[in-house]
Amino acid sequence: MPTVHLVDVCKTYHLDSVAVPALSGISAAIQPDCFTVLAGPSGSGKTTLLNLIGGLDRADSGRIEIAGQVLDALDDDALSDFRARHIGFVFQHFNLLPVLSAYENVEYPLILAGVSRAARRQRVRDMLAAVGLAERMDNRPGQLSGGQRQRVAIARALVGRPALVLADEPTANLDSHTGAEIIALMRRLQREHAVSFVFSSHDAQVIAAADALLPLCDGRLQSMQEGAA
């Protein structure tokens, strides 16, 4: 069963009285344990599709199924709970909470998921060690470099053992060297944790690392391609 199943998904934004179609008739299936990239130029609908898959926004029509759950069937609270338990996010701007330490940022999704304190402590330490930040766990985001912040964000996305991790242009705010390190790290963790990663990116390094590519243009899916990472 695919981790993500999209059937004829449409989304239109309304700017005052002007309707701007963002996605039209998107149908796709994203397989488990895959490193999938939504590729396309700016305005092609990558982030919109990623938001719909992550349950951050609602489609106007069509069907989105994540890990066997139809998202449209969930109300707002249930959708929040579903995100907390099944989806991890990595943002372009890292989006760490500035008042929390690296440890606390990684711990936060586990608190939302209701994991016990003892289990949280072990999993957070393991995860920070996995991203190479065991020594920086008490540092706040302001005390970390861009690459380190993104590592914390990756740890935060994976610590809840989600079925799916969504990353919106995760290397856009990093230099190419750091970006490459981050991609390598995510690729390694994706394999180790057997989790599906879906990226939105037009970064050639990310696209080159993909197992599958979903090319978007003007809100439409061009064709699904298998990559060779």
Partner: protein, 467 residues
């Protein structure tokens, strides 16, 4: 990472703004508590003063309070001693009572003919020992200005007058040093009733037994003209033993206290003596509503068919209610103004926090925090500010109140004849403390409600775009 800890850290992010908001709350609450404490002192102080003088409840003949004060003979209570005994001995009422005592109030004209002066007085015939016990009542521990009635163990012709009366009668020797007083020209020649200066017709009317010549206090002798039961004028020669400050100027210029038997002799002569009121002072003011119906029942059973009514100290002293209402309205107005200031200051702080943290709100929602969680987070931040504000505000109010209470500052309220200490009851007034604290916390939550709701209702994708 509990919501509370996250809220606390968010507050500490913008310390200057949080501190400014906190200061607004602290100053606001301190002002509310200080004015409330001042109001409380005035209310409890005046309540104590009125209850010390009039008791919590009075039994009177119906209509006496409204119309009968000029005509005590028509509104006398018969068999009052037996009635008082019934009230004291009642199993339900008795334990509530601190004192039960009779009183006879009448109007008269006090004259000091040696000085060619006279003035109207309001005479209170009292049981001096019982009145002094009443004056010691102080349920709320306020600073009491009551002075013991100097009639206890004094001769039957002794009277105490207000300082205003003494000044009008030119009894300068009884007044405090420095108080303005016009000395009578022939004061030293004054003697008791039967003085050469006393009009012969008044002397003849006097039923007061002659006081031995050379009593030593002749300089302080006065004559009192009052109407007897049958409307005939009656005169008593009296000795003023003390001039006391009654606090309220209007009363100070009229007040005269004498032994009950003396007053009864003036009004009722040789007839069966009566009184115009039975004063009941309770141990606790809160027992008024419990005591009143029981008194009514006892009056119906043992009142001898007299049309008796029960009035409480608020009805007897309308000034208490008027003062209380004035102070309450002032307090309410000030509290409302401060509440509005705090509401807008804190509301502005929380709204700014929501705008600044829009991206974080989106992140938290993306991670799985429900809308209610966002709402709770911002309300928690406001509540923490509120708690810090009330703790510091209460401490500041207690400190300033201690300073004021030890300053010895005094002022004379309008219409009063006494300079009262400016005191603030903050620590002793639990309802004021609890009311102000809960009110401030309520305003805090109210001011944060709208920003918190706005934060919680944001669309996640819109919020994330603020990154």
């Amino acid at each position: 990472m509990s919501t509370l800890l996250l809220a606390l850290r968010n507050l500490l992010r913008n310390r200057r703004r949080s501190l400014a908001t906190l200061l607004t709350m602290v100053v606001g609450l301190t002002a509310i508590l200080l004015f409330g404490g001042y109001r409380s002192n005035i209310q409890y102080g005046s309540l104590t003063g009125f209850v010390q003088f009039t008791g919590h409840l009075q039994v009177q003949r119906s209509g006496y309070f409204e119309e009968g004060s000029d005509n005590p003979a028509a509104y006398g209570i018969r068999d009052y001693a037996a009635l008082m005994a019934r009230l004291r001995q009642d199993a339900q009422l008795g334990p509530l009572l601190n004192e039960v005592t009779p009183a006879l109030q009448l109007g008269g004209i006090a004259g000091r003919f040696a000085a060619n002066v006279s003035r109207s007085v309001l005479v209170n015939g009292v049981d001096a020992a019982a009145r002094n016990r009443m004056l010691r009542w102080n349920e709320y521990g306020v600073v009491s200005y009551a002075q013991p009635l100097a009639l206890e163990d004094r001769t039957a012709d002794s009277v105490v007058v207000g300082q205003g009366v003494a000044r009008k009668l030119r009894l300068c020797g009884l007044l405090p040093v420095g108080m303005p007083c016009t000395q009578p020209a022939a004061d030293s020649n004054t003697s008791h009733g039967g003085s050469d200066n006393t009009p012969a017709e008044l002397a003849a009317l006097s039923q007061q037994e002659a006081v031995p010549a050379g009593a030593g206090a002749a300089a302080n002798r006065i004559e009192l003209l009052a109407a007897s039961q049958r409307g005939a004028p009656n005169v008593a020669s009296l000795r003023v033993v003390k001039a006391t400050n009654m606090g309220i100027k209007a009363l100070d210029d009229l007040y005269m206290a004498m032994h009950l038997q003396q007053a009864q002799a003036l009004v009722y002569g040789r007839d069966t003596p009566q009184v115009t009121a039975i004063l009941l002072q309770l141990h606790r003011t809160a027992d008024i509503d419990k005591a009143r119906p029981r008194i009514r029942t006892l009056l119906a059973q043992h009142g001898g068919g007299q049309d008796l009514t029960v009035l409480d100290f608020r009805q007897l002293n309308p000034m208490y209610e008027q003062t209380s209402q004035f102070m309450d309205s002032m307090f309410g107005f000030i509290a409302m103004l401060i509440g509005v200031i705090v509401l807008f200051t804190l509301g502005n702080t929380m709204s700014s926090a929501v705008v600044e943290r829009t991206s974080e709100i989106g992140t938290l929602r993306a991670l799985g925090l429900r809308r209610a969680g966002i709402r709770r987070l911002f309300l928690c931040e406001a509540l923490l500010l509120g708690l810090a504000g009330v703790v510091l505000g209460v401490l500041a109010a207690l400190a300033v109140a201690a300073l004021i209470n030890n300053s010895g500052w005094r002022w004379t309220p309008p219409g009063y004849a006494y300079a009262y200490l400016i005191l603030v009851r903050v620590g002793q007034d639990l309802p004021l403390l609890l009311g102000s604290v809960s009110g401030m916390l309520g305003v805090t939550l109210l001011s944060a409600w709208w920003p918190a709701r706005r934060a919680a209702r944001q669309q996640i994708v819109d919020a994330l775009r603020h990154s």
